[in-house]
């Protein structure tokens, strides 16, 4: 009986102590026990973080499976929009290129409006290093004939040497077999400009009259002599005058106005 009584008192005391402690702790400011929280956190939080990560992952996957259909639809819609935009972009690019070409044609026509001309594109270039002919996409069906003059935006290109129904072969002035009678515009002296093997941008001006004064930067134009090229078409400018011991042998280097490596659009003079 005594033993039971003693045990009961101890139990009551312990319960009271726990109660008091509970009251004290719970009524105190939380900040004052943060060090205990911190200690607990050190052990608990990593595990907690791991579990949270896993939980999020699983619940995220859940939503992924739930949303897959809507995402698919959205993706398809975006793809369709993207292809539509690409399509319109391509159309715009084509229009832009077309616009540029037409502008080029208009500029060319204005420049040489006294001549009747047919515009053409260069469709083939010479495959040899020793000649320079081009093929253009107009032929006898468009009224092109042999020996017609071909010009470009900035000056003389050459003349037609053969014609098919839809194409024409043009010998350019930089071809080694080409020789054009021309005038130096400032002095009106007649010279002959020939193509050279050295460069596709330069011509060699020979037969310079002994009394002629040739200066660097002088403009060279066709003279109209020879029957192929009309008078007054710009060929290029004098780049350099090479004087030799004998004045009759002197020659000049003429830089062509037309860039033959980038030549894409030309005009054929038909009258």
């Amino acid at each position: 009986m005594y033993r039971n009584k003693k045990n009961g008192i101890i139990g009551i005391v312990i319960t009271i102590i726990i109660l008091v402690l509970l009251v004290v702790f719970t009524n105190n400011n939380v900040n004052q026990i943060s060090f205990i929280e911190n200690i607990c956190n050190i052990f608990v939080m990593p595990v907690q973080n791991g579990f949270t990560y896993l939980k999020n992952k699983i619940s995220g996957n859940d939503s992924f499976f739930q949303n897959i259909d809507s995402l698919k639809n959205e993706n398809q819609e975006l793809k369709r929009k993207n292809s539509e935009m690409e399509q319109s972009l391509r159309e715009l690019e084509i229009l832009k290129a077309e616009n540029d070409t037409l502008k080029e044609y208009v500029n060319l026509k204005d420049k040489y409006k006294d001549y009747e001309t047919i515009p053409a594109d260069v469709i083939n270039r010479d495959i040899s290093n020793y000649s320079s002919t081009i093929v253009i996409n107009v032929g006898s069906n468009d009224g092109i004939k042999e020996e017609m003059t071909v010009i470009a935006d900035s000056g003389l290109v050459g003349h037609v040497i053969s014609v098919t129904d839809t194409t024409a072969k043009v010998q350019t002035i930089v071809d080694t077999a080409s020789a054009v009678t021309s005038n130096i515009s400032t002095t009106d002296d007649t010279i002959i400009v020939q193509g050279t093997l050295d460069s596709k941008q330069e011509l060699k001006a020979t037969f310079i009259p002994t009394d002629a004064v040739v200066l660097q930067g002088d403009s060279v134009e066709t003279s109209g002599i020879g029957g192929i090229y009309p008078k007054g078409i710009h060929i290029g400018t004098i780049k350099e005058v090479i004087n030799t011991n004998n004045i009759t042998d002197r020659y000049a280097v003429v830089e062509t106005a037309v860039n033959f490596t980038k030549l894409n659009t030309v005009l054929v003079i038909t009258n």
Binding site: D126, N129, S131, A177, T196, D198, T261
Partner: protein, 177 residues
């Protein structure tokens, strides 16, 4: 049938090479000088298929080039025909298995073709003769051809052996027995 197919493929290859030459290599140049892929192609045909096809393809394709872009018709056909013809004789006397001999053959073929064309054009087209410029351009062209040959040599060998099996009958080399 196999031969007809091979010839057809060769002609298609010619057009591909022609377009490469006239479009890509007109701007992909060394000092403004293009290589001459056509000479390499015809020599390849002559070496691996024999003189008959080399000669015929050389002449036909040469004339085709002259008609399409040349200033006068004939010389490319004749010169390419000669290179095709020479292919078989070169094959009999030299080994195709060595890169060096192939390179030497390409050098000679380019040299013969360009010099032949230049002399013919100078005589017929009233051109002024520019020896120095010509030699300079020719040397760069030969160099370019050598580089291309070295690069495409493995493909040349592989395709060449297929062609050789199609066109040339197997001969027993009696001199070794």
């Amino acid at each position: 049938m196999k031969k007809v197919l091979a010839i057809f493929i060769l002609i298609i290859s010619f057009f591909i090479i022609y377009f490469l030459q006239s479009n890509i290599f007109t701007w992909f140049t060394i000092a403004g000088v293009m290589p001459n892929l056509i000479v390499i192609f015809i020599l390849f045909v002559g070496l691996f298929t024999g003189k008959k096809l080399g000669l015929i393809l050389g002449i036909i394709l040469g004339f085709y080039i002259d008609i399409i872009i040349g200033r006068q018709i004939g010389i490319s056909g004749i010169m390419l025909g000669l290179i095709g013809l020479a292919g078989e004789y070169l094959d009999k006397n030299f080994s195709k298995e060595s890169r060096l001999t192939i390179v030497i053959m390409i050098i000679s073929a380019t040299l013969v073709f360009e010099v032949g064309c230049y002399i013919f054009n100078t005589m017929t087209l009233n051109m002024s003769i520019e020896i120095f410029s010509f030699v300079k351009t020719l040397l760069i062209e030969i160099l370019y051809n050598i580089i291309i040959t070295i690069i495409i040599y493995p493909i040349m060998q592989r395709l060449g052996h297929i062609l050789e099996e199609t066109f040339k009958t197997r001969t027993i080399l009696t001199r070794y027995f």
